[in-house]
């Protein structure tokens, strides 16, 4: 028994995981609670379904714990291919719900392959990065890796489910950690900043800002007695200007009005509490009304009144805010952040690159969902409909995330073993 996997397991992560899933279940119960309705244990209620998938997750997770880590490495390619086939199959056999072909209907249940594609991509990416011929400094390798990541993202965009596709951006953190050039980080963050600035301010203002900033940098370099060539600065200036104009063009010409509205509301350019702003406004009201201690389990009036749409899925955080208040919300945020950092911490201890990269991917994916979902519920980020992993209602999401998490647990427990 001394050698049992249970003794070596990362109990901190497991407890955090169990807490988040359990607390999620409590809030799903509350969000869908209806007095006098049929028993909540029934499989036709969200609570019953989620409970079933929790059971499945534990079962599947336990099974994965028993496998050798080598198995995941050897089978990463077939797993990836099957996930891609499932995504392609959606265009033929998928069921359209709310305008997106994202689901297979099986009995009374829906299966969302996009959720499983994340895990498959993480596996293959880890394998390819850890191959000795892969070198993140070579263009060839970069293209290969970009292909692995963007194929599923593209298939998901076509469903269309851009929110879920966006999650694949998480792999940027992985690549960066494994040695991607700093220039990518700089480009990405400047692009992000420019994007927001362009939406908030007029184009000439943003361009002036860019010019001032670049000149300032140039001057600073000079002062530090380091003689930089002028060309890169001019080039970046031109690229930034081009980017600013294309953002403006894409935003005004290619985006649909509903997309524009989502941004404008967050940026405070538009006050709209009725149409598109409804969800965000109601979510904020629900959270705000929770106060310090919250209204208590099943006591949320905004929740009972059904003011927040999609509350058991994308807006689960608003019920936590209303019924459990500041304390509960901080607890969930704290646990989530702790889980992400704990997995990163353990990942850094891995000597085997495949395992490190995979663990890192798990953490990155959790992070992106954490950022987008809670950010959206708090009105900090435009509406992007993705769940809060482990907590939100959704069988496919819970199962896929759990499987991914248990693979991490397995890798971590067997850190000192070669298999």
């Amino acid at each position: 028994m001394k050698d049992s996997v249970f003794l070596r397991m990362d109990w901190v992560s497991l407890l955090l995981y169990l807490f988040l899933v359990g607390f999620g279940l409590v809030n799903i119960y509350s969000a869908t609670y209806l007095e006098g309705a049929q028993s909540l244990m029934s499989l036709s209620t969200p609570f019953g379904k989620q409970l079933l998938f929790m059971g499945l997750s534990f079962l599947g997770g336990g099974f994965l714990l028993a496998l050798r880590v080598k198995f995941f490495e050897q089978f990463s390619t077939p797993i990836y291919i099957s996930a891609m086939l499932l995504l392609v199959g959606l265009f033929f056999f998928g069921k359209t719900i709310s305008g997106a072909r994202s689901w297979y209907a099986i009995g009374g249940f829906g299966l969302q392959p996009a959720e499983f594609a994340k895990m498959a991509t993480a596996l293959l990416l880890s394998k390819v990065i850890s191959q000795f011929q892969t070198n993140l400094k070579s263009i060839r390798s970069l293209f290969k890796l970009a292909g692995i990541i963007s194929l599923p993202a593209l298939l998901i965009v076509l469903q269309p489910d851009p929110g879920s596709a966006l999650v694949f951006g998480a792999f940027f953190f992985v690549l960066f950690r494994e040695g991607l050039n700093y220039i990518f980080l700089i480009i990405l963050s400047s692009a992000l900043i420019l994007f927001v600035l362009t939406l908030v301010f007029a184009i000439p203002v943003v361009i002036s800002l860019v010019i001032i900033l670049l000149s300032l940098l140039f001057y600073l370099f000079k002062r530090m007695r380091y003689n930089p060539p002028v060309l890169p600065f001019i080039l970046s200036g031109i690229m930034a200007t081009g980017f600013i104009f294309s953002v403006d063009f894409i935003f005004n010409e290619i985006f649909e009005q509903r997309h524009r509205d989502r941004f404008n509301i967050i940026l405070g350019k538009e006050v709209d509490t009725q149409g598109v702003g409804y969800n965000i406004n109601q979510s904020k009201i629900a959270i705000g009304s929770g106060g310090f201690q919250g209204k208590g389990f099943l006591k949320g009036t905004q929740t009972k009144g059904d003011f927040v749409p999609e509350q058991h899925t994308d807006y689960i955080f608003s019920i936590i805010g209303e019924e459990w208040g500041f304390l509960g919300s901080i607890l969930v945020i704290g646990c989530f952040a702790a889980l992400i950092i704990r997995i990163l911490w353990q990942a850094e201890k891995q000597t085997n690159q495949f395992r490190r990269v995979f663990s890192y991917s798990v953490s990155s994916i959790l992070f992106v969902h954490f950022l987008i979902n809670i950010g959206m519920s708090l009105g900090l980020i435009p509406t992007i409909g993705i769940p809060l992993l482990l907590v939100s209602y959704g069988g496919s999401s819970l199962l896929a995330t759990s499987l991914m998490f248990f693979i991490y647990l397995n890798m971590d427990a067997n850190r000192l073993r070669d298999w």
């Binding site: 209806l34 007095e35 006098g36 069921k95 719900i97 709310s98 689901w103 209907a105 009995g107 009374g108 249940f109 829906g110 953190f173 960066f176 950690r177 040695g179 980080l185 006050v271 509490t273 009725q274 409804y278 406004n281 109601q282 904020k284 009201i285 959270i287 705000g288 009304s289 929770g290 106060g291 310090f292 006591k299 009036t301 009972k304 009144g305 059904d306 003011f307 805010g321 208040g325 500041f326 919300s329 901080i330 945020i333 704290g334 989530f336 952040a337 992400i340 950092i341 990163l344 911490w345 890192y360 990155s364 992070f367 954490f370 950022l371 809670i374 950010g375 708090l378 009105g379 900090l380």
Partner: protein, 620 residues
């Protein structure tokens, strides 16, 4: 810089940022929760229009019409001319005062209803003068408008929330409406939509001067969803006419989908009488009628012994358990002795030889008694035999709630070994003890919808889809898949039984149900029944029962019909089922003579017999 730090730092930053935003929203900025306590504001509910209900072909069954309530917020009430107001709304002064006190007790700040659903005239006059009465205002509501006076048992009704509802669900406020029965209750959440809130700015005279902050804190109502039912309006209406002046029920199901085409319960009532100010009085009348029980859904709630239609299930179980084969013959001598001195009668002539098909269409009691004995004795002990028998029946949806989407129903009853062990003691019973089960009498209880459902399962040759009333909800995005349930009988066994049921109509007990050009399959039943009259068990005229489906191949409709105290199955139930089938499949009924006989037929004198106080005869 260490690359490994990027993500942890991002995570911490984001978490801190979230914490900051939460501090602002939940701890500092209490603006959102103080909205309703602001004195200069009044909060008013804005109601979405209740969803419409359509039949399967898109015919409008239920819509809405406007109505106005007089509301009061007690703390805002100033001295006013009570006499004038009470005359305007046509209410006695004491009653009015009483309601005001009640409203004050409920809440000083929250609105209460003084008069709901004002008459057109009262509303017109009051509209002009409402400014005189501080604290009072008119609230527009919509009430139900029934386009056809049918299907009240399915549609249910809407009424004001009572104190229990208010305690149960904080969504509702006093004076609001809630779905009370039927579809209105089951799909309340969809039909009602979600009310919105508006905040209105008041001036120092307490007059509303417009929206607060340009309405930016209002939540608009969320539109209700419209519901399309599986009912066929024409068929439902026809069924209700056929059952006029009788008591009973009709359940018609589309076998392939489990969609309920008609659910008739007679006597019934016009749904429109449960709308408006006369509602409570009318409701009281309906609920006080304890003999005809118009509020009692006979199709869903009435539990009867199924009678002879049950024989087809026993036949299927016997085939599955290999107790008989289609060719197995038993001899019947006007019945048979199933135990010493115990004789079960049958109408077959002496020395009749029946095979299974013939036994079904001749409805031979002896044949099924012997078959049932075989089923019970097929496994070592009768305990095991009966429990296996029960399992088969449960797979047809008997003995438990079917799980359709209305909130009334009964489970029916299928006895098992535990039951008989309790009744007779362990080992104290054998197949002959419980032989009545063979012919659908005995301890078995089924509801008409369960019978229609097993007819559908036979029509499908071995499976059924959970019966339901909901065809679609507008803008619904969830997966609406109805479970297909397989019975424990192999599909190969069904043809013999279906053939028998076809011959019931062709040559057997239900020749009256024959329709030119449609192959109808059916089984009649005549069910003995008893009531307790002045403390004595009294037998009444038998119930008339019929199950059917048609056409034989690729069935489109399966039904169960029963008529209380209608005597034998072919007298009322079979012709009614046959007319329903003809109406549904051919759209037009050619057999006017039969239609007229049923429409004009009345059983009211039959129902009065037991309560006339005089001795009476049954089964005439």
């Amino acid at each position: 810089m260490n690359r490994s730090l990027l993500l942890p730092v991002c995570t911490l930053t984001v978490a801190l940022f979230f914490g900051g935003k939460l501090t602002q929203l939940q701890l500092i900025d209490n603006f959102y929760s103080s909205l309703s306590q602001n004195n200069a504001l009044i909060e008013r509910a804005v109601y979405p229009e209740r969803g419409f209900i359509y039949d399967r072909n898109g015919a409008l069954l239920v819509a809405n019409k406007p109505s106005y309530d007089l509301m009061v917020i007690p703390e805002n009430v100033k001295a006013f001319d009570t006499l004038e107001l009470t005359t305007l709304i046509d209410l006695r002064r004491e009653v009015f005062q009483d309601r005001l006190n009640k409203a004050r007790r409920y809440s000083k700040k929250l609105p209460s209803t003084v008069v709901s659903q004002l008459s057109e005239e009262a509303h017109a006059v009051l509209q002009e003068k409402i400014w005189k009465y501080e604290g009072f205002y008119l609230q527009k509501k919509t009430i139900r408008d029934y386009r056809k006076s049918i299907a009240s048992n399915v549609l249910g009704y809407v009424s004001e929330v009572n104190n229990t509802d208010l305690k149960k669900d904080s969504y509702y406020r006093k004076g609001e409406l809630i779905g009370r029965q039927g579809i209105e209750k089951y799909y309340e959440k969809y039909l009602r939509g979600i009310k919105g809130k508006e905040f209105l700015q008041k001036d120092k005279f307490n007059r509303v001067i417009g929206a607060y902050e340009g309405g930016s804190f209002d939540s608009p109502p969320i539109q209700a969803r419209d519901i399309t039912l599986t009912l066929d309006q024409t068929l439902q209406e026809y069924g209700e006419r056929l059952l006029q002046n009788k008591r009973g029920g009709i359940v018609a199901i589309e076998p392939a989908t489990g969609e309920i085409l008609a659910l008739v319960s007679a006597p019934s009532y016009d749904p429109a009488i449960l709308v408006g100010r006369q509602r409570s009085e009318n409701y009281r009348k309906l609920s006080l009628d304890t003999l005809a029980k118009p509020l009692y859904d006979r199709g869903l709630q009435a539990q009867y012994a199924p009678g002879s239609p049950f024989k087809v299930l026993n036949a299927l179980i016997a085939l599955q358990e290999k107790v008989v084969e289609p060719k197995t013959e038993f001899t019947c001598n006007q019945g048979h002795f199933y135990a010493r001195g115990a004789f079960m009668q049958c109408h077959c002539p002496l020395q009749t030889k029946n095979d299974l098909t013939r036994a079904i269409y001749k409805s031979c009691n002896s044949y099924f008694a012997k078959t049932y004995k075989g089923i019970i004795n097929a496994y070592g002990t009768p305990e095991e035999g009966i429990d296996r028998w029960k399992k088969h029946l449960q797979s047809f949806g008997l003995g438990n709630y079917l799980g359709y989407d209305l909130s009334v129903g009964q489970p029916g009853y299928i006895p098992d070994s535990d039951y008989y062990n309790r009744a007779y003691g362990k080992g104290g019973w054998k197949a002959p003890t419980i032989i009545s089960n063979a012919i659908g009498q005995g301890e078995i209880l089924t509801t008409p919808i369960q019978m229609a459902n097993f007819a559908a399962a036979i029509a499908n040759r071995g499976h059924y889809v959970k019966p339901h009333f909901m065809k679609s909800i507008s803008e619904k995005s969830e997966l609406g898949v109805f479970e297909k349930k397989q019975t424990t009988i192999d599909s190969t066994h069904f043809e013999t039984v279906v053939d028998g049921m076809h011959k019931v109509v062709e040559y057997g007990t239900a020749r009256i149900a024959r329709i030119k050009g449609i192959e109808v399959c059916g089984k009649t039943g005549t069910v003995e029944n008893f009531i307790s009259l002045n403390g004595q068990k009294t037998q009444l005229t038998d119930h008339s029962m019929f199950i059917a489906f048609a056409p034989k191949e690729n069935p489109q409709i399966a039904l169960a019909v029963f008529v209380e105290n209608g005597y034998w199955g072919a007298r009322w139930a079979a012709p009614i089922a046959s007319l329903m089938i003809e109406k549904y499949l051919k759209k037009e009924v050619k057999r006017k003579w039969l239609e007229n006989r049923i429409l004009n037929g009345s059983l009211l004198t039959e129902y009065e017999k037991p309560y006339s106080g005089k001795p009476f005869k049954i089964n005439q």
